[in-house]
Amino acid sequence: MALLQISEPGQSAAPHEHRLAVGIDLGTTNSLVATVRSGLAVVLNDALGRPLLPSVVHYAADGHSEVGYEAQAFQASDPQNTLVSVKRLMGRGRQDIQHVESLPYDFVDAEGMVKLRTAQGIKSPVEVSADILRSLRERAELSLGGPLTGAVITVPAYFDDAQRQATKDAARLAGLKVLRLLNEPTAAAIAYGLDNGAEGIYAVYDLGGGTFDISILKLSQGVFQVLATGGDSALGGDDFDHRVFCWIIEQAKLAPLAPQDAGLLQMRAREAKEYLTSHGEAPITARLSTGEYVDLRLTTESFTAITHTLVHKTLGPTRKALRDAGLSPDEVKGVVMVGGATRMPQIQKAVEDFFGCEPLNNLDPDKVVALGAATQANLLVGNRAAGDDWLLLDVIPLSLGIETMGGLVEKIIPRNSTIPVARAQDFTTFKDGQTAMALHVVQGERELVSDCRSLARFELRGIPPMVAGAARIRVTFQVDADGLLAVAAREQTTGHEAHIEVKPSYGLSDDEIAAMLKDSIRHATDDAYRRALREAQVEAQRLVEAVQSALREDAELLTAAERAHIDACVAKLQAVMIGDDRRAVDAAIEALSSGTADFAARRMNRSVQRALAGKKVDAVSL
């Protein structure tokens, strides 16, 4: 697949460098990091050989913070400062969070995304997630022996734009370059499909700690095409724990609990749930701070009865996804089970009954998502090997719309559209000389704005003044391959580009992110400047390699003068990237990027032509 490289005499061709890339499953309960080593996807364990990192962060009053098992140890003794299941809070307002009263946290009363008051000040869920990601990044860099080129981070397929953006922001805070946000069920499908050479229609049933996803995919000749996806971004194993927790309180006739007792019983509830996976009955015992003693037995029958509605709740989105894909359950060849919560026997049975076939459990439901993400990351950084030319076509899970007169929603991009996708819509002014206009973008399937999720308000400024109705402002809604929305506006008659100000409803503004970045750098143990320089150098290296490989493939698309300019930019970047002036590296990166813009466009046209001519590039370059 790789081109034969012929080097100048006396100069060796650059060895085919293996770039360090990881896949990260940022879970509600546990997180993992995986990579591809010698062609095989493997989960990277911590120093004690443990693959999982509990998604728990403890902020101690003395300024220390712990992540993972060390943080988990504080769950009972310091619940207010020990943050668990923070994924449920990402891109969410306070009114969105279920059982908010049973959470032991001190929520800050404010609009937008929730924030928590801790012993180390106010924390956004984005910062807490960044601490988890940073811990995984450090684990990976230690294990792989160098800085990472990038990471694929997985998100529930049913995550909306605000939740996706929050995840990407967290990665940025953690110093990770996000190669792609990948939907969790799609990641699982890659891992399963590539392992088993699967072809046909498959469903991925993914019940994690806090989210439920169902995706229907068509696997054919190396193309993973998502046909439809559905789910519930607030339904998961945690809810089963909560049912057991409520059952304990009811059975033991307990009065309102102190925070540490609530924390303890939540832990006991989860242990009981896990125990029931392989036993018919689970003992539940606990001594509370009040001196009361809890001693109960939960049978499989009672557990199934109290969680019946939760199991049933997963089947609605499953039906809807199948209908969106235009398929019936018997057309599905296999159901891949993902997420620790699918270990529960009542889930296995419900899936088997619904699809009429035995679910596929041959991959570790805790690891499959991270492994799929690692495989994708390896491909995206360009570590390609034979047989690695598969392609992923994913969809947007929820319709995007804008608010129109009377609080109604006009759909702009329907759910299950293959991404990237864009739609343009024309607007006009309704007052003479109007120079600004506001757009409210929402996500969801309902007709009323109040029933959908508010994503952001966009203010377009700088519209040239004209009489009412004369301006034609074309607003383009672009959803990229990460499933993230960007909005651009242009006045059609004058070609004037409107300036857009984004006010995310449940996200962080650019200013907030910048402040957090500064803050995290101030608190970082390693030298912030060296870190930033190293990142710029990795980026510079990536760009130089990309341009050199493009030049090897398509140099004849350039005139001699253009070639000379690009060569000069490359030489300049190579000269400054070994130094320690970060600004110079950034400037040279910028110069090379813009110097290759036209070349990039021509290369793309050529590859399209090749596809149409029926000639695969593989065949050409072999």
């Binding site: 030319d389 992923l392 990309a546 990027s593 813009s594 793309m604 046209n605 399209v608 596809a611 149409l612």
Partner: protein, 178 residues
Amino acid sequence: MTASFDPSQDFFALFGLPRRQALDTARLEVLYRDLQAQVHPDKHAHLSDMEQRKAMQWATRVNEAYLTLKNPLKRARYLLALAGHDALIETNTAMPAEFLMAQMELREAVAEAKQRGDSAELEAQHRSLKQTIRSEYATLQSTLDAGDYDSAGERVRQLMFQEKLLHDIDEALEVLET
């Protein structure tokens, strides 16, 4: 190989397919996959930001083209627009009286079945309407490919009605299920 590639060319030209309503859908599938395999952002993620942006624009266009050509109603409307006859659809709302009468009766029957919660009846209506629509598309194809834009435009308007009703039955069934 074509001499130069124009990103603003029409969707049929993009796939190298003839500009007709009759379409080899299996071939469209293959061409779509081959094109995406070249232009998809995942294939360019290791390249410069500029190339990544270009890839996104291309992949977006290929998706739009595929979606338009795959769906027979969208394809027909697109063909009419290419032929300069799209105005027939937007402005001309006149319909034959007997078609409108039949539609109203159908709508009433669907509303009644929905009221009664009779999903078996709704399923039957769905099947029968689907069959009607299928034969309408066959007629549409022959008129459109024969260049009879006026009657093709009328068929398209009627099919928009029928597809909407089919969608409403789908939604009614969905509500009954939950």
